[in-house]
Amino acid sequence: MIKYTLRRLLLMIPVILGITFLVFFILLASPGNVAQMVLGPEATAEDIAMKEHDLGLDQPIVVQYIKYMWNALHGDFGTSWFQNFNVMEEFSHRIPYTLSLGFLAIGWACVLGIPIGIIAAVRHNHMTDYVVTFFSLLLSSAPAFWLGMMYQLFFAQKLGWLPASGVGSFKYYILPSLSLGGGILASNARTTRTWLLDVIRSDYVRTARAKGNKESTVIVKHALRNSLLPVITQIGVSFSIIMGGSVITETVYAFPGIGSFLINAVKTKDIPIVMACIVVVAVIVGLTNLVVDLLYAVVDPRVQLGSKKG
């Protein structure tokens, strides 16, 4: 297991180098003079040349990239081009917000989504099942930013139960995390339902019933264990979706995480910030996928870690 973990961590390195190089390359190779944008329209040709030298833009892209990655390895993600702050420092303030929002969203998706799926499967073809299926379809068909706005409108403006935006106590996290995790919640409910229905029909569940077990025991002790495996495999993908979705949710709720930070940086083409976001998200997503794969092997003893390609 340790050997496997180490190998996976080593495999992450070329992937992260690849994605950072790709993004670095398309950002710098794109049209538009960066130094001109930083300095504004009145800058003279000498000013621009000076600034380009300062930012290292006069060197070949590969050299710039190697320098950037070397500094990044030492925890230095450079300074913002437009506002003079240290990117790493700003990130250390913002990452906790994004991560707690993301984990809370995954939490809702599992704590609410799985039981809802179980109920729908147990009450198969009853009213409850239809209602759950309908709402989960609706939830995964609506744009996340729009749902977020609707929650704000209803729970904050109309009912006044929860704050509409900003950060503070736990209350401020409820609406953003629910709208961030809404789609995953719906898909967790659907996956649980589908697989549980599949497992319920299998022979060993019939045997468990035939032994005279209570229905609840049959579901929880026998059927559920096997039907949750696909849900666990989904968590890795879900986390990636949630890291992407945080860009939108954080914008809707004016949440000071890395998502809203990225969007502002993208609009101004503040490359150090965009790069740092990509690196951080790629590392977080890679690590979560590794943890999920390890977890999968723990939950399902049939899975052999070495043979499975990550």
Partner: protein
């Protein structure tokens, strides 16, 4: 689909053709049929809009008419500039729906080429292509699209490229695994023995046989693409402002939604209905193409 027709001609003794059977199975699924009708209606209204709805209504501003709730003249009401929301939503559909189709089309073609090559040739080609998809999939798709838009700048065509790049890896992987399962089949061996080229085998024998599930995947993916286009529009990095698009319409009205709810609810409902219909059609198509999958 062509493959299905070929099958019919080779076995005329069957009463109903494969295509007919698929059609019958599809029409039995009520939700899928309703979804298809809604989808076709949405596409037709926005496609034919220039014939019955003057484009000037989309951009015509009149402060006197601002913030009218839905009424007989302005069916969906007007925004803060007095622009007609109905006209904006209908014309917005032209971009939201058809840009989605083009995006997924590009991803579909490139996915078939990359995934087909990886699965068919294996070895070094496979390794290179798969590591490339690993790299693209290491960050969430929307982040990749956002970074590409950041580099290229705003605009319809640029957005299409940005979105399709983030879709290619998954598409390529699906095609690859489908091709790998087909590669060892007897009919492929047979084609090889009478001298069919690699290219011919891949595109004439293997791809047509895996087309069914791929099309279902595309239908399912299209809903996601429409949501992504709307999201980029909402973030203000999709289509440039004067052109209406469902996401941009919501974002430009965001400040006024508190007191004029219809401005946010109506365009959002359009996105939701379009995506929901697509999902229904996708589900129906999957069950119709492969009855074994149904549970």
């Amino acid at each position: 689909m062509d493959m299905k027709k070929e099958k019919t001609t080779s076995s005329p003794q069957k009463k109903k053709s494969q295509a007919q059977l698929i059609l019958i199975r599809f029409t039995k699924n009520k939700l899928a049929v309703i979804g298809l009708i809604v989808l076709v209606a949405l596409m037709l209204t926005s496609l034919t809009a220039p014939l019955w709805l003057d484009y000037s209504k989309v951009t015509h501003q009149s402060v006197r008419e601002s913030f009218q709730t839905p009424n007989a003249e302005h069916w969906f009401g007007t925004d803060q500039f007095g622009r007609d929301l109905f006209a904006r939503v209908i014309y917005g559909g032209r971009i939201s729906l058809f840009a989605g189709l083009v995006t997924i089309g590009i991803a579909f073609l490139l996915g078939i080429i990359l995934g087909g090559a990886a699965g068919f040739f294996g070895g070094a080609v496979d390794t290179v292509i798969m590591r490339f998809t690993d790299i693209l999939m290491s960050v969430p798709g929307i982040l990749l699209s956002i970074s590409i838009v950041a580099a290229l700048g705003q605009g319809l065509f640029k957005m299409l490229i940005a979105l399709s790049v983030s879709l290619i890896p998954r598409q390529a992987r699906t095609v690859r695994s489908a091709v790998i399962t087909m590669r060892g089949q007897e009919f492929v061996e047979a084609a090889r023995t009478y001298g069919c080229s690699n290219f011919g085998i891949l595109f004439r024998y293997i791809i047509p046989n895996v087309l069914g599930p791929l099309i279902v995947g595309v239908m399912m993916g299209l809903g996601g693409v429409i949501l992504q286009i709307a999201s980029l529009g909402y973030l203000g990095i999709g289509i440039a402002p004067p052109t209406p698009e469902w996401g941009t319409i919501i974002s430009e009205n965001q400040a006024n939604i508190m007191y004029h709810m219809y401005l946010g609810i109506i365009p959002g409902l359009f996105i939701m209905i379009a995506v929901l219909s697509l999902n229904f059609v996708g589900d129906g198509l999957r069950d119709a193409l492969d009855p074994k999958m149904k549970n």
